[in-house]
Point group: none
Chain length 355, copies 2
Amino acid sequence: MINSKYELIIKDIKKDINTGKFDVDEKISSENQLATKYGVSRQTVRKAIGQLIDEGYLYAKHGSGTYVAERVMKKRHSKNIAVVSTYMSDYIFPRVIQGINQVLDENGYSILLKTTNNSRKGEAWCMEELLSKNIDGMLIEPSQSAISCQHQVLYDQMDAMGIPYVFIQGCYEAMMDRPYVMIDDVEGGMLITEHLIKLGHRNIAGIFKADDTQGILRHKGYVKALAAAGIPYDPDLVVWYHTKDKTMKPMEGLLRILESGRPCHAVVCYNDEIAADVIKGLQNIGRSVPHDISVTGFDNSLLAYSKGITTIAHPQEELGKKAAETLLGLIDKRISKKEAHVLLEPILVERNSCF
Amino acid sequence: MINSKYELIIKDIKKDINTGKFDVDEKISSENQLATKYGVSRQTVRKAIGQLIDEGYLYAKHGSGTYVAERVMKKRHSKNIAVVSTYMSDYIFPRVIQGINQVLDENGYSILLKTTNNSRKGEAWCMEELLSKNIDGMLIEPSQSAISCQHQVLYDQMDAMGIPYVFIQGCYEAMMDRPYVMIDDVEGGMLITEHLIKLGHRNIAGIFKADDTQGILRHKGYVKALAAAGIPYDPDLVVWYHTKDKTMKPMEGLLRILESGRPCHAVVCYNDEIAADVIKGLQNIGRSVPHDISVTGFDNSLLAYSKGITTIAHPQEELGKKAAETLLGLIDKRISKKEAHVLLEPILVERNSCF
DNA sequence: TTCAATTTGTTCGTATGTATC
DNA sequence: GGATACATACGAACAAATTGA
């Protein structure tokens, strides 16, 4: 029984949607147009539309229009966002999550925290558990990100369930079309290499992680900087290592380069940890940093601070904020999955490991 | 967080319902009364009430009034534990939560993370939100813990709902009968004071925070150590300060002691932060640390590490683990609330701020 | 039973703010 | 910057249901 005008409008619009008169994400008439069409006030239209939004038939974009929603709804908003990180112990982690928390808190969301211990098994287990819980979205730091993701099914399942997610800090090669927020590693690798070039270096070695998108991108930046300066790229000056390698591996590679007699007075390292290892290793063989050899890091970690390593700053809090904002945008459909690709500008932090 | 009047009204009414100010089926004020009370139009009140009805907090009877609904409590076994902390930025935080995560993860629980920004308002807000969610238990770091807890009702309500909780790092004075896991601050205060006594000091000043259980307990340990060594307690050697005091306050108190001509070559500080301030202040007036004056901290924070301050180590990961284990024990009723009082042994960390 | 007061439900008109294109 | 569209808010009016005198 329909006793009121707004109920009639609800019934009418529902019918149009259910009979397929509208496509998903198609814009419906504006409130004023509907008001004229039905000969009612805009408030009455708003009441009808408001209820349809509650029921999941429509969604509104402020300043743009009202659109037809994917009818998967009926599920309650839990106002919980899962944050899946590799480790919690990292120096970087607290500030990233602080940024995430700030934005989510302001929007009435809570954080559901999970860790993967950087193993893909851990990640899969985590996600399966999360799928059984009621979450509105997920921010995930991928584990060992360069190798192809072996459980893409889980992500496809999340897509099917309409649960948006954003990769942070890194992204699987095969999933670069999905939303992500991360550092512009190419730019960072270029920035730090350019810094060494400006200091007068031309024979610059590089140590990069091979099974990690970040390692590959940083290497790309290193190559770009060399090319831009007209320095030929020499693959023999580059050391590649893997996660499973012992910590000595990168240093061994560098020693081989130095022993080959090749002139080399600068090393771009994958991250601060490697840089610290390299500095220690060089000191062990009697080479002083930075006077004999310049060394750079990446990430601006605690280690870089305490050891005075020139590095690339990681805008931690901003990354967290941007990631949270992107996810919220995906949840209320303000932005589309295709747009949700954010690269953050790296910043050079000069300390005293370069000369 | 709240940008509109109707949201404020929603929050207000939710609070009144959650804190038990209304009984189930009790009639709330009429729309016109609320409009007058909040100084808004009836439409605005209606918008708020409409949403609360949608969320199941209220139900309306045409021509009669609006009533408080029976809150349909979601059933147990959400396998979610809320962790409420003051800040996430702290140096200490990551390792504590790492310990919590380890134990909870092993038992199939997830962490729901919230921060209070160390304000009691934030804590109340947090808890209200959590009460509307489905959690099996809570680990909470209290805000400004020494002053009496002004929203004990919220904790009583959690008791009534059968949701166990454990205070970590500190506890409200009035709630010491509730479960807690924290450092043995008395033991810590004693340990650090004994250390100074062993170094030959007898005139030992103390700087303590007055509105904080930890400050009071650390002072107690300081007194005990003096008594055990047969040194008379001199209240004039103790500086008390409050959270709201300016950062200079503790140093001013210490200067007054030094200017009084009293012999004093050692200071026990409430925490590392104060110790760092004191060291800086002493250097400003030309006193060298540790040669002229020995200074100790508390907490083994990043500051203590970088400034080389002798301090008391806070077994961070263990605290997290013990807290999680205690909570799990409470959840499956293996242990009773009365037993759930854990004090952890502090550890002395010697650096070079004492001589 | 009637009636008046009260309270929620529906609708209209208007105004201002703010996001988007 | 201007036009458009949604978001919030105020004021007013009348309808419909309930309540109690």
